[in-house]
């Protein structure tokens, strides 16, 4: 039986080597890059990062965006998933339409909402038709941070809710119908059934959806860039700018470390707060 002892290692070998080379090594390199200056260990890069005018703004913008977008996304996705579950006719078509944005990149989503929200765009056209405005209004400028924020929010919710829907529906399909049916026999309303049965059983799916979405949401960059250039600084956008405009790898790496630490912390928070007790795991 030596063959079957060696075989699994031959099978996972290439993937392991690959992940070490393109995940572990760059991770270590990023840390090294961020914590050195001219070959010496130093915090210069972090000092430069914190001292930058856009630093505070990019932190608060990114966090506000995550805090505003993720809860709304979860609610919207739950609504979509529960509605689709109730359908029998046309389910496939409706599902496909709802998950189309899954394949749309953040850059493309930003451009989509730019057609709508630009000053001569469709949103203003509709407002004009309703008689609410007289001429083009600029919603995405530096001087209107609130509407710019809402614009970015809309684009993010529009684009990235689909992945949550997919994960939730996959989770819903694994919940046996009998639980809900039994509760119905005992007279539980549909809201009670949703809250007391579906939601707790869906917790593992909700957890993985939240982790995945939050990590990706802290990486938000191209949506914002497409809608407003650098008018609305976010963390990864600053990393990109330091790398490309200022040609400074070190500070870009410092931003990367910051984003990573935040993502890991968020993941840990989700794992702690949404832990499923072992007796509830199916």
């Amino acid at each position: 039986m030596t063959r079957s002892r060696v075989l699994p290692y031959l099978l996972i070998g290439p993937a392991t080597v690959f992940l070490v080379l393109l995940f572990v090594v760059p991770l270590v390199q990023t840390i090294a890059l961020a914590f050195t200056d001219n070959g010496e260990a130093s915090l210069t890069n972090f000092r430069k990062m914190v001292g930058d005018l856009n630093f505070g703004l990019s932190i608060s913008n990114t966090f506000l965006l995550v805090l505003a977008v993720i809860p709304l996304q979860l609610c919207l996705a739950l609504t979509m998933a529960m509605m689709v579950q109730k359908l029998d006719k046309g389910r496939d078509l409706v599902l496909w339409i709802m998950i189309i944005p899954l394949g749309i990149s953040d850059l493309a989503a930003g451009l989509v909402w730019l057609t709508i929200l630009q000053d001569r765009g469709y949103f203003n056209t509709v407002l004009n038709m309703l008689g609410l405005i007289d001429g083009p209004v600029n919603w995405l400028s530096y001087e209107s941070p609130v509407s710019l924020f809402v614009g970015v929010m809309l684009a993010e919710i529009w684009r990235a809710t689909a992945i949550v829907v997919v994960i939730l529906i996959s989770g819903l399909q694994l919940i046996p119908k009998e639980y809900s049916e039994a509760a119905e026999v005992f007279g539980a309303s549909s809201w009670t059934r949703f809250r007391k049965i579906t939601l707790p059983l869906l917790k593992p799916s909700i957890q993985s959806a939240l982790i995945l979405r939050t990590v990706l949401a802290f990486e938000v960059f191209a949506v914002v860039y497409a809608l407003s250039g650098r008018n609305f600084p976010v963390l990864v956008g600053e990393a990109y700018a330091w790398q490309h405009v200022n040609q400074n790898n070190g500070v870009a790496a410092a931003y990367a470390i910051l984003v990573m630490v935040i993502s890991l912390a968020a993941t840990l928070v989700y794992i702690r707060t949404l832990r499923t007790p072992p007796e509830m795991q199916s």
């Binding site: 749309i104 996959s170 399909q173 993502s263």
Partner: protein, 274 residues
């Protein structure tokens, strides 16, 4: 009509209006960027806008495609995405098979490594790779970008194929051994055909991940940009109708591919998350 039927019918109406609203929310923005893409320069500056496609034409899209670099970037993007598809399948499917069929020391460590990548913003790790890639000659090449994109897609393909193989009864393989097939023959003739549709779906999803990725692709290339990276670079200095045409071109393949894999997506996620 009894009261119960009325309330049942009312519920159906409410359900379908809710679904109509949500579908409109998804579809209308896509319709509008199509209008922007096919409306051309005159369409972009028109005020107020026409919400119906009367001023659209193919001319605007043709002008966009004639711009130098667009075709090359689109081709590059598709090439990188195909490479990503190939790499992530070649590396991920065997690993998935090992996870599904064997118990071995280090199994949990490997699974952990794969899952851990999900908690990291992987694309950002492309930053130090610029130096490595310049040294090894991978900088500014499709293969280099595809390698980074494979790191993004590989965890997904490995976990998905592991759950696919788990869904195929081991007895089928064992029966083939009894009839004299070697291990590899049994895999190729019995397991592979059964897993193929799911593997194809995972591969297509890897394509979409690569086609859409923008950060690593723009950091690691100068002249051989993918379409997404190309659009990001020229974004600031290009006119609006050009941006809209580009955005539409980015969306088009994704819609088709999501349509192709829609059946498998749910099964893939359902098990891949356990």
């Amino acid at each position: 009509m009894s009261e119960a039927t009325v309330s049942l019918r009312l519920r159906r109406v409410m359900l379908w209006s809710g679904i109509a609203v949500l579908c409109t929310w998804v579809l209308v923005p896509i319709y509008l960027i199509a209008l922007g893409a096919f409306g051309g320069r005159s369409g972009v500056f028109r005020w107020p806008k026409n919400l119906l496609p009367w001023d659209s034409g193919l001319a605007a899209m043709q002008t966009f495609l004639a711009v130098e670099g667009v075709w090359a970037a689109a081709f590059n993007g598709a090439f990188v995405a195909c490479l990503t598809m190939l790499f992530s399948l070649l590396l991920g499917a065997p690993a998935g098979y090992a996870l599904a069929r064997y118990r071995f020391a280090g199994q949990d460590a490997f699974r952990m490594l794969v899952i851990l990548t999900r908690a990291f913003p992987l694309a950002i790790l492309a930053l130090p790779l610029t130096v490595t890639f310049i040294r090894t000659g991978l900088y500014d090449t499709p293969v280099g970008v595809a390698l980074v994109h494979t790191a993004l897609a590989l965890p997904f393909t490995a976990l998905v194929s592991s759950s696919l193989f788990m869904g195929i009864p081991r007895e089928l393989e064992e029966a083939a051994w009894v009839f004299g097939c070697t291990g590899f023959q049994a895999f190729r003739r019995i397991v592979l055909p059964l897993a193929l549709p799911g593997l194809a779906a995972a591969a297509i999803f890897a394509f979409v991940i690569s086609w859409n990725e923008v950060f690593a692709a723009s950091v690691l290339t100068v002249r051989n940009k993918t379409l997404t990276a190309y659009l990001l670079t020229v974004l600031a200095e290009s006119p609006l109708h050009f941006r809209f045409a580009g955005g539409f071109l980015l969306i088009l393949p994704s819609i088709i591919f999501i349509f192709a894999v829609r059946k498998y997506l749910f099964a893939m996620w359902g098990i891949a998350n356990r």
